[in-house]
Amino acid sequence: MYEHDVIVVGAGGAGLRAAIAAHEAGADVAMVTKLHPVRSHTGAAEGGINAALQEGDDWELHAYDTMKGSDYLGDAPAVETLAQDAPEETINLEHWGMPFSREEDGRVSQRPFGGLSYPRTTYAGAETGHHLLHTMYEQVVKRGIQVYDEWYVMNMATTDEPDPNDRECHGVVAYDVQSGKIEGFKANQGVVLATGGPGQAFDHTTNAVSCTGDGHAMAYRAGAPLEDMEFIQFHPTSLPSTGVLISEGVRGEGGILYNSEGERFMFEHGYANNSGELASRDVVARAELTEVDEGRGVEDEYVHLDMRHLGEDRIMDRLENILHLAEDFEGVDGLVEPMPVKPGQHYAMGGIEVDENGQTCVDGLYAAGECACVSVHGGNRLGGNALPELIVFGKRAGRHAAGDDLGEPKIRTGYGDDVEDETETELPVAPGEAGLDTTGGVAADGGVTADPEGILERTVETARERVDRLMDKEDGVQHAEIRAKLQQAMTDYVNVFRTEEGVKKALEIIRECRQEYQDVYVDDPSRTFNTDLQQTIETRNLIDVAESIALGALVRDEFRGAHWRKEHQERKDEEWLKHTLISWDDGEPSIFYRPVILEGQNKTYEPKERSY
Amino acid sequence: MSQSYNRGLIEDFGRWKEFSAGMWAWIFHKFTGWMLIGYLFTHIAVLSTSVGAAGNEAAIMAESDVYTTTLQGLEGLFLIRLLEVGLLAVAVFHILNGLRLLMVDLGVGLEAQDKSFYASLVLTGAITVASVPTFLTGVSL
């Protein structure tokens, strides 16, 4: 057993920031991460960090833009905290040596980004996330913070009171990928989950293979509800074979989208008669998919993004990196042929429900970064708002976990008297646990709440048994099959287009996946670096996460932000200014809603039409 | 890591087929350098015969002193002439590649490092071939 004051799970931007903050607050911190920190997916972010740094800009404008972008589903206290703290945190990164792009006078550069009323996206070339990740890892090295890398966290060690609000988290159970050893990590003060996005729930995503929503699933099973999971952002231009992102810059410079008939469909089929290719992300993504669905896709899969007419000079000057991406990852020369693109899952607005201090309803359990939902992004995230979220809320979670007083949070968490229960929606199948694999949930299934160490030991035992079972089983289904089926279902039915029928179909398939998972086995008999085992466990997490996304998508019968429903083409403010919350009650999801907080410090945000 | 696999010597020598220009340059430069320092030692040894020759004015005048005879004896051998051509090749390559390395050290023309290596090789060949007549004149087979 290992013991520390604060355990941070995950070492992407959010995890690193949390660890540094907890360390500065005087706690003995350790990071447990399934990848070496510099391998985290934060490194893929290109665009930048929104922060109101310049004179003439103002945090209130940033907050306003964010609220509007969220389609009024962001919680004002969170949104305002983000806008207020982002400048200081961004400058702090600069003080740690992050190589931001510079102006002639030596100040950091900022550029305009979609949905922003002021050019406040601070960037470091086209590799902002890479620099942010590496700069913070450098600080972790400098501070000598303990990092357990290539340790896969399997579960939370949480007490088992019936009401999650009464539960406490005492640590985590992890296994060392290199040796297969399973150990408990005791956290005397708190556990911060910073495990990143759940993109692998989808077949086609810009997210890494490691983005499997482990934190979501573990917190969920420990009792913390998942919030607004139905809000998934899809990016219209990703390469079909890998999901690598082709930046909006191509369309910004004049790139044109064609279908297989050579039609400039954004105009010719009337998706956006004014802005054409430059319409907002969700509009373009839907247009592309409609083309493919109606048989005008190339190879029934994608459309073409053509930039040849811009001329070699202009392309080399402004879009050179795009040429490399298309060449390296798709084998296509953008100067000679059009590039294939299709919509890809990009970001999850929802996540583990937390307050402004990063705390969940379970005492001692925190979450930050993409896996958390403080609710700054609401129904739709603005480009450049995720990275500031990592540093602002990563820091707060770290500090709070280490015992710093950050004041009373305004956001409430967990099931309480301010929530409204879901009553109407009919489900096609019973979601939740399918039987045997009682991996999740809290430590002492119905048993007496033991002391922290006892709880941890018991969780370690369960984890060992589970792994033994998976390894010993001789025959059955392999996870890859289940995962592929799940991803396909999500992409077919819970993608950009959502219909009631489709989402129900997805829930049925998810149910099948759960059942098949009962029969899953790990073929690789080795304890050494068994990625088969790791992926098998991840697949279980993906099922939980996918189910919560589909459930959310089914109950929310309106069109808000990134969530589009065929039968419900308008935003319903009277009914739906509330968050969807899904919690795991003894293996069975239950759904409830909590109203959005629109009252800010100085003003109340009035929902307006989201037009740009 | 106790259980990891160490691929042993193959790592150090077995991959020569996959070497790139820079590595070959490094190996050749080493080789030629060692040859040259080796030669320097023998060279001084041969020249040391002059110690014995010195003072014997008559022999010197008659060009029959040890130094002269040793040198001319050696030079009369075809093998030695061949070796001399080899030495020239070695020296020329070492010089040319040495110049290349000096450029690299000064940060000049780094992008062309492979081309300059090939150029050194070609030039060495050319100079060596061109010098053969000079080296082989007057040798009695």
């Binding site: - | 040259l36 001084i44 010197i60 005048m61 002269t68 001319q72 020296a91 080296f135 007057g138």
Partner: protein, 121 residues
Amino acid sequence: MAEQYSSFTPGGTRWFLQRVTAAFLVVVLAFHFFLLHFVNHAYEVTFLGTQARMENVGYLLTMVLFLITATFHGVNGVYNALVNQGLEGTQKKAVLAVLVVASVGLVAQGTYVALTMSGMI
């Protein structure tokens, strides 16, 4: 974490001298080759001729300097090569000692030879 390496000689000086001597050698070696193989043919070398050249003090000094730089350059090169191959500790010290002795011997002998040639001894 790998320890902070500390060693008495940082190594920069030797690296630098290797380059400086190389630069010097380019000139002198070219001159030497040219003189003894193309202007005067090696097979025609006689003590007389050698003596005639060596009697010129400038030439003598150049040749001695040539010898010293070449020895330093060559021996230092060999030493570097060995150290790069991972020579450590006592072994490394022994090799250094041998090389130093050899090069001192070489330079001494060479200088002695040159002086006899020039007739100064």
